[in-house]
């Protein structure tokens, strides 16, 4: 074991693989960002070249900022993502706590039912969801999107969090009960901080599909006031002509907020792991 740990060749090989993987993973992002700073001609002439003095062009960003209300789109995406994330984590954690903590009839069945959503894509129900939203007058509202995404994110959240909550020391919860803490205090003050790494994981897994989703905004909330950033970027993609500068610029801009959210959660994740002080 210690041989392997000290071997330089092995360490180089491991890092080589990791670096290769990083390059592959980052390549599309790199191309998108680099080309968003180039003129249209330069994008097609040399897609992989870095923007030079003559190819550097901010026309994409200018178009994006001029055309459409991009700030509003950003705000919509943010509202929907953060809102859904909040509800997924809150309700997911609460359901997980109930499933893992209380003995009641049908507990196992309920857990299975709540986790079933992982296997059934929510998009199969699009027509029914649309009918429901029309009936309740929620079409073209951000509320509709938040509701749908909350439903979409809950199964995975419940599944992961209930597994983690089962591992939280029962003695700790019982000590809280003897000290007179309410079940809510036990949940919020004792259990949630201990499953924070799991919460961060769930947050990241929930966040990214919601931010990137095109399907539900297109169907449920395509109005100008409720467009999300992914939907907003589509105006530059036409059937015959695509404004690549603008598309790339819009996509580059769209990466920033999700990146910030990710960094926040991943820091939580690391802190959660290092602060492990259960025993």
């Amino acid at each position: 074991m210690s041989q392997a740990r000290h071997s330089i060749t092995r360490s180089i090989a491991a890092h080589g693989v990791l670096i290769l993987w990083t390059v592959i993973a980052l390549f599309p992002v790199f191309v998108t960002v680099v080309n968003s700073f180039k003129s249209r001609k330069a994008i097609f002439a040399e897609p992989l070249a870095l923007p030079g003095p003559e190819s550097f062009d901010l026309v994409g960003y200018a178009t994006v900022l001029k055309q459409g209300d991009f700030f509003q789109y950003f705000l919509n995406s943010m509202t929907v993502t953060v809102g859904s994330l909040f509800f997924v984590l809150l309700f997911g954690a609460m359901a997980a706590f109930a499933l893992s903590e209380y003995r009641f009839r049908g507990n196992g069945l309920m857990g299975l039912y709540l986790a079933l959503g992982i296997m059934i894509p929510i998009r199969l129900g699009t027509v029914a969801i649309l009918q429901m939203m029309v009936a309740s007058g929620l079409v073209n509202t951000l509320t509709a999107l938040v509701l749908v995404y909350t439903a979409q994110g809950l199964p995975l959240a419940v599944f992961i969090l209930s597994e983690f909550m089962r591992n939280v020391s029962a003695d700790l919860k019982n000590a809280g009960r003897i000290d007179g803490l309410s079940e809510y205090t036990i949940f919020f003050r004792l259990v949630l901080p201990l499953v924070r790494p799991a919460m961060a994981t769930v947050a990241v897994f929930t966040l990214i599909p919601i931010w990137n989703d095109l399907w539900f905004p297109l169907i449920l909330a395509p109005s100008e006031a409720t467009k999300t950033i992914t939907l907003g970027s589509q105006v530059f993609i036409g059937q015959f002509v695509t404004n690549w500068n603008a598309v790339l610029a819009a996509l580059s801009l769209a990466i920033v907020p999700v990146l910030i959210l990710y960094l926040i959660f991943s820091r939580q994740l690391i802190r959660g792991i290092t602060a492990g002080a259960v025993k």
């Binding site: 003897i178 000290d179 004792l190 901080p193």
Partner: protein
């Protein structure tokens, strides 16, 4: 102030009966130890007294008042857990004072109570630390301190020493005995270690498969066991059992303690 009575207490999980009708009286100020092999229901019984498990039938009463349906926090008990169960996000002081804070006791009083408990357990220099910064023995002392601060009618210990190393175990055992002397409170202590039981207890309750086999003072159990189970369970090395018929005696089994044999 703190006599516990169990009358015909039972507990079932579904169709499995875990506790099968236990009658027991623990007098005020007594140190009572539950012993038994693992799975005999001793921890379950303790958790029923604490209110962490429902009682299926029968009555649990402290000082004559039935507490079956009272929430754990309202029973005026304190419990020390095997895994310490300290709140990881609170300092030692806050860990010890939380129950009082929940009960709405004024800050100055909490401070005084925690300081007093800290002095008894020599925890004073550690008061501002978090559980993660303490050693196992220190954590267990904090857990005991948390119990003392509440001035409960009844102390419940659930195998408090199992996670400590041998040297600390002896030391903490002495400390618990001293605490019992100083506080004069009723204590119920669950263990599977008969050395702990024999050294600490006024009264030992031997349990097997959810039933009380015998209740009595340690030496009474040792010298006058009611049945072969108690005779075999108490005492180390174990009592030797012989078929009485082989010696020409009329009863079933003959037990001889190793120290009564001479070669």
């Amino acid at each position: 102030m703190g006599a516990l009575t169990l009358s015909q207490v039972t507990k079932s999980f579904g169709s499995t009966d875990v506790i099968k009708g236990v009658d027991l009286r623990v007098e005020d100020g007594e140190f009572c130890v539950f012993v038994g092999p693992s799975g005999c229901g001793k921890s379950t019984l303790l958790r029923m007294i604490a209110g962490l498990e429902d009682v299926t039938s029968g009555d649990v009463a402290i000082d004559g008042a039935r507490i079956n349906d009272l929430a754990p926090a309202k029973r005026e008990i304190a419990m020390v857990f095997q895994s310490y169960a300290l709140y990881p996000h609170l300092t030692v002081r806050d860990n010890m004072g939380l129950a009082l804070k929940q009960a709405g006791v004024p800050k100055a009083e909490i401070q005084a109570a925690t300081d007093k408990a800290a002095a008894m357990l020599s925890l004073a220099p550690l008061m501002e630390r978090r559980p993660a910064e303490l050693s196992g023995g220190q954590r267990q002392r904090v857990a005991i301190g948390r119990a003392i601060v509440r001035r409960p009618k009844l102390f419940l210990f659930d195998e408090p020493l199992s996670n400590l190393d041998a040297a600390l175990r002896v030391q903490t055992r002495i400390e618990i005995a001293r605490l019992h002397r100083d506080l004069g409170a009723t204590m119920i202590y669950v263990t599977h270690d008969q050395v702990e039981a024999m050294t600490l207890a006024h009264k030992i309750v031997v349990l097997r498969a959810g039933k009380v086999e015998q209740v009595g003072r340690p030496m009474d159990l040792y010298n006058d066991p009611d049945n072969t189970f108690v005779a075999g369970f108490i005492g180390s090395p174990q009592m030797n059992f012989l078929k009485a018929g082989a010696l020409g005696l009329r009863s079933d089994t003959l037990g001889i303690r190793p120290e009564h044999l001479e070669i």
